[in-house]
């Protein structure tokens, strides 16, 4: 049984078919990469998965802990809180005027809300809430250590350099304790050293936390090195799927990418 099963996913914007009858699956403890030229519909797939867009057709089933969630029927925030799917955004979306640590505390909102008795216990400063808050800070510190931002914990997130913001966004997603992590171009704009660190981080999450990772990425070196399986989209359609070695040599993929380069050249 796969962690995530996508079947017949279609999403239209007016006349434009951004995603056209796409199906694939993702497994626990595996990295599944979603690649394709710009405008292929990768981000749209993420938006459908995480409830931000309502797909025209498609079944998006997530099975974890013996329960099945139909993602296409859930509101965006329920996808995160109930189905435990976390994501990052292609254009970074952190809380710039809040501190790095506060960003990670916001990610643990639902747990802390319950512990604070929906604010009432928190107002009187009950011990239960304080213990939960300490645990939340500990979890935040754990991820800050992993992404190397511990000594920046108290500065405004907006003042972090670009690479730091990308890592913070991943740490924030992990603080929600997801079963599936969707990363939208996490290496975009990173220098080679940062990109290498990102590889290590993703490999670590996969190995130690055993969650499923869906990865949109343009950098082929990254993709080929760390993914277990690759899905290739072009013009909203799936044109290839398989392990890296297969996809690398698939004529359909080569054509799609070469075709794109021809356009860019001409």
């Amino acid at each position: 049984m796969s962690l995530l099963t996508v079947e017949h996913l279609t999403m239209r914007f007016g006349g434009l078919v951004a995603v056209d009858d796409v199906g694939f699956s993702a497994e626990e403890g595996r990295i599944t990469a979603l690649i394709g030229p710009n405008g292929a519909g990768k981000t749209t797939v993420f938006n459908c998965l995480t409830g931000f867009y309502k797909p025209d057709t498609g079944r998006l089933a997530l099975r974890a802990d013996g329960r099945e969630h139909m993602l296409e029927r859930l509101d965006d925030f329920r996808v995160a809180s109930e189905a435990k799917v976390a994501r990052t955004f292609q254009n970074i979306r952190i809380f710039p005027q809040m501190s790095v640590l506060e960003n990670l505390m916001v990610a643990q909102h639902n747990r802390l809300m319950r512990a604070s008795g929906y604010t009432l216990l928190g107002l009187v400063g009950a011990g239960r809430f304080r213990a939960a808050e300490r645990a939340a800070v500990e979890r935040a510190v754990y991820w800050l250590d992993r992404v190397g931002l511990t000594d920046r914990a108290d500065i405004d997130a907006g003042t972090l350099p670009y690479g730091g913001q990308r890592r913070l966004e991943i740490a924030r997603a992990m603080c929600t304790e997801p079963v599936l992590l969707c990363l939208d171009e996490p290496a975009a704009g990173l220098n080679p050293r940062e990109s290498g660190e990102l590889n290590d981080l993703l490999t670590f999450i996969k190995a130690v936390h055993r969650i499923g990772i869906l990865l949109i990425e343009h950098d082929m070196n990254v993709v080929m090195e760390i993914s277990d399986r690759i899905v290739v989209l072009d013009h909203g359609r799936k044109i290839s799927e398989g392990p890296p070695d297969f996809v690398r040599n698939d004529p359909a993929v080569i054509r799609a990418y070469l075709g794109e380069e021809e356009h860019e050249g001409g």
Binding site: F13, T43, N47, F52, Y53, F89
Partner: protein, 304 residues
Amino acid sequence: MEYFLQQLINGVTLGAVYGLIAIGYTLVYGIIGMINFAHGEIYMIGAFIAMIAFLILGPDGGGYLILALFTVLIVSMMLTAVYGWTLERLAYRPLRGSTRLAALISAIGMSIALQNYVQLTQGARTKAIQPVIQGGIELAERDGFAVSLSYIQIVIVVLTLALMASFSLVIGKTALGRAQRACEQDREMAALVGIDVDRTISITFVIGASLAAVAGTMAVFYYGVIDFFIGFLAGIKAFTAAVLGGIGSIPGAMLGGLLIGLIEAFWSGYFTTEYKDVAAFSILVLVLIFRPTGLLGRPEIEKV
């Protein structure tokens, strides 16, 4: 039936005024995505300028009434346009690229400032002029109730239709219209292909303000009374009209204006006048809850 017909005529006239103001909201919203909260005040200023210009020309327009009215209209349009231009320049342009909220707060500040500016310079009292265009056509009569279509109502509706038609042509066919639509869709791209975005936005404000001035001028001659506060309610109703029709859509603004005018006329005609403003607000709330894209607006999916 006669009563109904009369309310229909009144409603259409009212709708023409609201529609002209609503176009200003819709144009600005289309191009920079913000509610020009001060647009109602622009309408009020248009009305004041028209009244002052008319009083300067004298009660009978120096003998040439038609010419005088035409002059009043043009003067009001031109001077009000300067207000529209300045408004954008001072309060909105510096905030482009800032948050929506900041722009809206600046707009509210401008609205308060303009209202009080007129109150200070022209006084808080209601101003009145004698009716200028009198008489009308009696359409039907029964049991002593006459349905009349006054000349001023005809002027208002005809003028509105003419402006609408020429205006749709401008937006549809000229380079200015194309520039506006380009800025609407993607301002950065528009700038890259050589469109002067600042200028296009300025012109949009100027057009919106001059149409509001037409509405203000018509209000002066239709109602005969104005005060510094008329912009508030008229602005909100016209905004409701723009939202009802589908904000960003010019035919929508006209349709919305017409509907709001009719609803108001029938509401006051058949129910109570006290709650007629509540009617407009309720429509606004209901439309926004159930159909935020309005009647003619295109649905849009928020980009994530």
